[in-house]
Amino acid sequence: MPNPDLSKSEPGSTRSDRLGYSVAVGVLVIGGALARTPILNWISGPSIVITCVIVVGNLQDRRARQREEKTANPEKSS
């Protein structure tokens, strides 16, 4: 399997990933303390982390792309 470029990740990926991980930790810690077992188990716990990072990451990346398009083509976007 070819290795991805490790020196430079996709634009915005690190920041958007960080946000995704922060959301996951927030959900697990606060939601876990309140709901306990339905969140804090071997299936839903890791699934929450994966879902948060992928969803938040992709949303952030899409926003970043839209912002880039706007700045590149200000007439088209207006």
Partner: protein, 286 residues
């Protein structure tokens, strides 16, 4: 029993094994002894009715008769052998072996301990660092664990992983973890996983394990309705407000005798397995 330690130890083990080994196999090994045995320990609650609950959870979970053999040094050998026979994959055989071993050894720290040398002896080996309290139910057990040295034990594992945090980096994952295990390439192909999805799958148990410590600690110490009586007790074999289950030897002599029998039997079994067929299987595997 250890709670988050089982999720976190997989990263520490992977970092310190210098030969080719599968991280996924280590993780599976760390979870395997409890994976199919934990449900009857607390029971399945539907409404006000409890199903499939063991009458003596500690005996069922760690003892004999029960499923205590899942917490012995024998089980990893069986799984590693099955992998060598059917998949011929050294990285997975070794990963499962060390993963299960680490779970079994980590569980030696509570008051019940594990039957390390089963089936040669049913002697339990325990340091008695914190009270095994599964008989108090899931939430009673959580309150006891995170009010005792068990919680400190989990924090310690979190600190150990953070101290060697390079194991969590993107570079480490794509340069060390992925090339050593064909399962990642299969996952990528089968589920069309992006690099982000692969990396978060690898890190998921770290974030889950770490967050779980704080969530349970917050519940046990701040939200638990019984926190007034279930106080923080960081003494050995604490907390003393719960009955610590243990299976000690009848006498020191009996302990030594059981240990001698168990250790000799286990070493002889490992040696016999190695010379009779494991060595050949290992050489045949890739």
């Amino acid at each position: 029993m250890s709670w988050a330690a089982h999720e976190l130890e997989s990263y520490v083990i992977r970092k310190h094994i210098k030969t080719k080994v599968s991280y996924l196999a280590i993780l599976l090994g760390c979870l395997l002894p409890d994976l199919f045995t934990k449900l009857p320990v607390y029971g399945l609650h539907i409404g006000n009715v409890t199903y499939i609950k063991a009458s003596f959870p500690a005996k069922y979970h760690r003892g004999w008769p029960g499923v205590g053999f899942t917490h012995s040094l024998l089980l990893p050998t069986v799984f590693a052998l099955l992998i060598l026979v059917f998949k011929r994959n050294r990285a997975w055989a070794l990963g499962l072996f060390v993963g299960i071993w680490s779970h079994v050894l980590t569980d030696c720290f509570d008051s019940v301990g594990t039957m390390l040398f089963f089936p040669f002896t049913t002697q339990h080996y325990s340091t008695g660092m914190w009270a095994y309290a599964s008989q108090a139910g899931r939430y009673g057990d959580a309150a006891a664990y995170y009010s005792s040295l068990g919680g400190v034990w989990d924090f310690l594992w979190l600190l150990i992983v953070l101290q060697g945090r390079e194991v969590l980096t993107r570079k480490y994952f794509f340069e060390k973890i992925v090339p050593e295990d064909p399962a990642w390439a299969w996952l990528k192909r089968k589920f069309r996983m992006s690099d982000r999805a692969m990396l978060v799958t690898y890190r998921a148990f770290f974030f889950y394990g770490g967050s779980r410590i704080f969530a349970w600690f917050i519940w046990a110490r701040l939200l638990n309705p019984l926190r007034g009586t279930q106080k923080l007790d960081l003494t050995w074999k604490g907390p003393h407000w719960v009955q610590a289950v243990s299976f000690p030897a009848r006498s020191f002599g009996s302990f030594m005798q059981n240990t001698a029998i168990g250790m000799t039997g286990t070493v002889a079994m490992f040696a016999a397995c190695w010379f009779l067929f494991v060595r050949r299987l290992w050489q045949r595997a890739t």
